[in-house]
């Protein structure tokens, strides 16, 4: 394990960014989101959650797939180049990393999404333990330990020092490249980190959502849940916006569209939301015609369909972003609880 004083972090970032792209939480106009590091970027490691999850480091909100150009009446297709440069995502949280694992299930399964795969291959993740988890957090429910995060490099911020532990080959390589700025940690440092772990876990226990139960949510209950009348009640305040989807670290749906640049057509994909009325619009119309159906889809997918297809892995990681950001104060916790209460009553 290594450590680095907080005030030396900018030197560290400069050093990393000198060799590869570096994405980290940056405050832009009052909001913290992952962005590329620049000399004058307002880096913010204290805010617990970025507004958007850092998933777009691997699965950008929009990315070009290929360009079609026309010469006379012949068309030419030029695929977009795959990511071929290494990059570092610094400051992801344990839940965010878990989110990437969920995305891996989708994009790295056969047929492999080459765009995603290339980014994953070139990306090194530096994860940070959550110093002060908040009331909206429920990662514990999904088996995430925010005190002991796992990625290429794991870090802890304790009393003005960042403790640094490489966990993978990629992590080692990154560590090597910045070694000159790191100081080797000793036994007392190990103790400090351990104390931090304990503190974090103690807080997690106190969080209001920590006792949330996922009992009864698995692939077997598909029809029961699907046909439940509860959905009719739950969806009503939903505005059909895509906030939950776009801040979510695991939502992976995208739309493929064309953009006429005047010199050719760029085919790109961009995040889509199952909450949108035109989601999966087809020639005959839409397969989900009501907001209730769309609302149900989102949670059924996360809590039933996805685990059914992925060895019980839920596609929710308990980051709590939707809890914070839903304009109508709806969220996955309320859904889970609603079914729980009903279960109790029956």
């Amino acid at each position: 394990m290594y450590k680095i004083a907080k005030e030396n972090l900018s030197a560290l970032f400069q050093k990393i960014a000198g060799e590869q792209e570096l994405y980290l939480p940056v405050n832009i106009s009052g909001q913290v989101n992952f962005a590329a590091w620049t000399e004058d970027a307002n880096v913010d490691l204290d805010t617990l959650k970025s507004v958007k999850s850092p998933k777009d480091a691997f699965f950008p909100q929009s990315e070009n797939l290929y360009t079609v150009t026309k010469e006379d009446k012949k068309t030419k297709i030029e695929p977009e180049a795959l990511k071929n440069q290494n990059f570092v995502v610094f400051g992801m949280k344990a839940c965010d990393v878990k989110g990437v694992e969920v995305l891996d299930k989708v994009f790295l399964a056969d047929p492999v999404d080459t765009f995603y795969a290339a980014r994953r291959a070139h990306g090194t993740i530096v994860v940070m333990a959550c110093h002060e988890p908040e009331e909206t957090c429920f990662c514990k429910v999904f088996g995430v330990d925010c005190a002991e995060p796992v990625a290429d490099v794991a870090t802890w911020m304790v009393e003005g020092e960042l403790f640094w532990k490489a966990l993978t080959e990629k992590g080692e390589a990154l560590t090597k490249s910045v070694e000159s700025l790191l100081v080797a940690a000793d036994g007392s440092d190990e103790a400090k980190v351990e104390a931090e772990r304990c503190a974090i876990r103690a807080i997690v226990e106190k969080l209001p959502y920590s006792d949330l139960s996922l009992e009864g949510w698995n692939g077997d209950v598909l029809l029961d849940k699907f046909n439940s009348p509860i959905w009719e009640e739950l969806y009503k305040p939903c505005l059909a916006c895509g906030t939950c989807t776009f801040v979510c670290p695991t939502c992976q749906c995208y739309d493929i569209k064309d953009y006429d640049t005047g010199h050719g057509v760029k085919r790109y994909r961009c995040w889509d939301s199952c909450m949108y009325s035109d989601f999966t619009m087809m020639a005959h119309g839409n397969n989900r015609t009501s907001q209730m159906q769309r609302f149900r889809q989102r949670f059924m997918h996360k809590l039933v369909y996805f685990p059914a297809n992925n060895d019980g892995m839920y596609s929710c990681v308990g980051c709590g972003r939707c809890v914070e950001k839903c304009p109508a104060s709806l969220n996955i916790v309320k859904v889970i609880k609603a079914f729980q209460n009903q279960g109790g009553e029956n």
């Binding site: 953009y259 640049t261 005047g262 010199h263 760029k266």
Partner: protein, 147 residues
């Protein structure tokens, strides 16, 4: 001729002209051989009130450097009231563009009657000159269209 030289800035200018007054004014400018730069391309619309602010933003998005809307003089609209609505819409749109920091000479409204070939040509000459002084539109263009 498909190769554009970078030496000289040739602005792309879209002029929306109402069918009854301004398009006819442009025709008169033509038949009177009153020259104005070829950068101006005219789109015929039935009335200035047909021009949706979206068209103007669209033009900028796709690479236009200036957009001008010409219609009948207030009170002379072929449809009586069309240009009055257009006037309010454009006033608010232009004010908004100014507000978000788009140079406020890139858009213009001019009332040109069917008899004002001279005014049409003068207006276009002035407008092109103005756009030249402002240079390329970078604030409203879509990066994807620039290549």
């Amino acid at each position: 001729m498909s190769i554009e030289t970078n030496e000289e800035f040739r602005p792309k200018i879209v002029a929306f002209c109402c069918n009854w007054c301004s398009y006819a004014g442009a025709d008169l400018a033509g038949s009177s051989r009153l020259a104005y730069p070829a950068d101006v391309k005219i789109i015929r619309v039935p009335c200035s009130c047909r021009v949706n602010p979206m068209f103007i933003l669209r033009a900028f998005e796709k690479g236009a450097d200036g957009v001008i809307l010409c219609g009948c003089h207030p009170g002379d609209c072929h449809y009586s009231t069309g240009n009055f609505y257009a006037r309010r819409r454009m006033t608010l749109l232009f004010s908004m563009l100014d507000y978000i920091g788009v140079e406020n000479g890139r858009t213009r409204v001019e009332w040109v009657s069917a008899a004002e070939g001279v005014k049409f040509s003068q207006t276009m000459n002035e407008f092109v000159e103005k756009i030249h002084s402002l240079g390329k539109n970078v604030r409203l263009g879509d990066l994807r269209c620039k290549n």
